[in-house]
């Protein structure tokens, strides 16, 4: 792959996307919204844990044994963190679809494909452009959430994040699942007449898959190895879908349907 061309596509798309008010709004608003909701729930949970004696033991799974307040808080904080990973998924679909719709609306796809640009470089540039701003926005909200969680947990006697699970979720699961979402949008954009429907189709296919992954994370989040296996399967899916998307990228179909 030609990194110079990837960088050119990425920079252009970033410039273009960030000039759109709807994209700027989405990047700022949704992470703040989710951060506010999940942090509030975490704070409420923290004070609930303070009144633990009022919660009957039957609330917890059988055989749980002795549960310290810090363990309960950790479990909740980790699961809310997983829920926060939904933010980049939603954001990336919106941004990726604007990147594609822009090429169609402005009729730039023909002059773009007439350059010596390789299809893989085009795809990779188009993948990175929605991925990077989405991750930056999401990471800011995750780091603020982490500071809140650590501040609260410190009063229970321990700083809970970052730990192995946090690192896997934040630095491997979130980027790989977001990339998968974007790749599906790109894959369908070259197969359908209207790029907007690519967003809808990819959303319909990817979201159930991601939800299954997120639900699985709730169960496996205490086991780093299982969490790693689950996360690396998403990375494997990224590689496979990238190859399929490049192979199925049909210049002729795009030129004849979009131009």
């Amino acid at each position: 792959m030609n990194t110079k061309n990837i960088k050119i596509i990425f920079s252009k798309d970033m410039d273009e996307l960030l000039s759109l008010n709807i994209v700027k709004f989405s990047i700022i608003f949704f992470p703040i919204l989710f951060l506010f909701i999940l942090s509030s729930v975490l704070v409420i949970s923290f004070y609930q844990i303070g009144h633990m004696s009022s919660i009957p033991l039957s609330t917890f799974p059988a055989g749980t044994g002795d549960i310290h307040n810090i363990q309960i808080f950790y479990y909740l904080a980790l699961n809310y963190l997983i829920l926060l990973s939904v933010v980049p998924l939603g954001l990336s679909t919106t941004i990726a679809s604007y990147s594609i719709v822009g090429e169609k609306q402005q009729r730039t796809i023909e002059p773009l494909l007439a350059t010596p640009l390789d299809d893989r470089d085009l795809f990779f540039g188009k993948l990175l452009a929605p991925l990077i701003p989405t991750l930056i926005a999401s990471y800011i909200s995750i780091f603020i959430y982490t500071i809140i969680a650590d501040y609260l947990s410190s009063s229970l006697g321990k700083i809970i994040f970052p730990d192995t699970q946090w690192i896997i979720i934040v630095f491997i699961f979130i980027p790989s699942s977001t990339a998968l979402e974007i790749l599906f949008t790109l894959l369908f954009s070259s197969r359908v007449t209207d790029p907007r429907s690519a967003q809808q189709i990819s959303g319909m296919i990817i979201l159930p898959i991601i939800i299954v992954f997120i639900l699985s994370l709730f169960y496996y989040s205490y086991e780093p190895i299982l969490l790693l296996i689950l996360t690396f399967s998403v990375i494997l899916a990224d590689v496979i879908i990238f190859r399929i998307a490049v192979r199925l990228f049909d210049r002729e179909r795009i030129i004849t349907r979009w131009v």
Binding site: I8, E16, T108, E110, L112, A114, P116
Partner: protein, 301 residues
């Protein structure tokens, strides 16, 4: 420079190009004419690696090209029918993007952008978003984009369609300049007057190449050499003198077709006291050739 041998193309089992062959020579302007849906834009897209061809071959500088060949895209500059630009970006940003993708060095690219914006009269608008440009300005910017990397072959798809006369003249002069610089220009157009003024070679396409050649040859091939003689004198005498020729008398003019030599005819007329005031060849323009070809095509189908 570019040899196209028998290429064909179909969409949904419908043939849009059949056995299309031509040569594009260095420093020549090749005009590609035909009705809507004749396959002009499809040909240009194939030659720019945007569509694949299904049979035949494309040879560029003695090298055989594959469908979607990147070498086709590196050597050519394309003016698309719709000059698509990133409308929120200014001219410089748009040109820098496309020039970089052509592999141009940053310094060379910046110099070239400045030089061409000045040449095309867009320099003072260089920082204005392209979305605010008029159609003519966009077309000029699209021409700059097509020429930015100094390609050997320039493909122009309807370059003057719906442009004002001044911008159209600018485009025609530009094509002439490109020819002088040794560039090959492939011009797809409906503007027959324009094609007639600047073409070295003309091809009429209607799914396949109906006829091609230099304009003068096409005129002779289709209409033969026709001479008009303006006269004063008796018509009966003229009919007698010209009885072995294909002619007709229109008011005070004689129209003689397929003439190989005029001196004997003139001598015979003058010897018979026919007063000849003017002799000139009948002129046919490209539009007449086009209409003749189109009517022949309709008759065929």
């Amino acid at each position: 420079m570019l040899n196209v041998n028998g290429i064909c193309k179909s969409f949904n089992n419908r043939n849009v190009l059949e056995n299309v062959s031509f040569k594009l020579e260095r420093g020549k302007v090749f005009s590609y004419l035909g009705p809507n849906g004749a396959g002009k834009t499809t040909t240009i897209r194939i030659l720019n690696g945007l569509l694949k061809f299904e049979c035949g071959e494309i040879i560029l500088e003695n090298e055989k090209m594959n469908p979607y060949d990147v070498r086709l895209r590196k050597r050519s500059g394309l003016l698309t029918e719709n000059p698509g630009f990133y409308e929120r970006f200014d001219a410089v940003k748009n040109l820098r993007f496309f020039g970089s993708l052509q592999g141009m060095d940053d310094n060379v690219l910046n110099e070239r952008i400045t030089e061409m914006l000045k040449e095309f009269g867009l320099y003072e608008y260089k920082n204005t978003p392209v979305g605010t440009y008029s159609k003519g300005m966009k077309q000029k910017l699209a021409l700059i984009r097509a020429l930015l990397h100094d390609p050997d072959i320039v493909y122009l798809d309807e370059p003057t369609a719906s442009l004002d006369p001044e911008t159209s003249l600018f485009v025609r002069n530009l094509i002439s300049d490109l020819r002088k610089k040794g560039k090959s220009v492939f011009l797809s157009t409906h503007n027959l007057n324009e094609a007639e003024q600047i073409s070295d070679w003309v091809a009429f396409i209607n799914r396949t190449i109906v006829v091609q050649g230099p304009i003068e040859n096409l005129k002779n091939m289709l209409f033969g050499k026709t001479v008009i003689i303006e006269f004063e004198g008796e018509r009966e005498k003229i009919r007698e003198i010209l009885k072995n020729y294909d002619f007709e008398i229109l008011d005070s003019r004689i129209k003689i077709r397929n003439v190989s030599g005029i001196s004997k005819i003139l001598k015979d007329l003058l010897d018979s006291d026919i007063n000849v005031s003017y002799v000139y060849p009948e002129e046919h323009n490209l539009e007449e050739i086009y209409m003749e070809l189109i009517s022949n095509e309709y008759k065929k189908h």
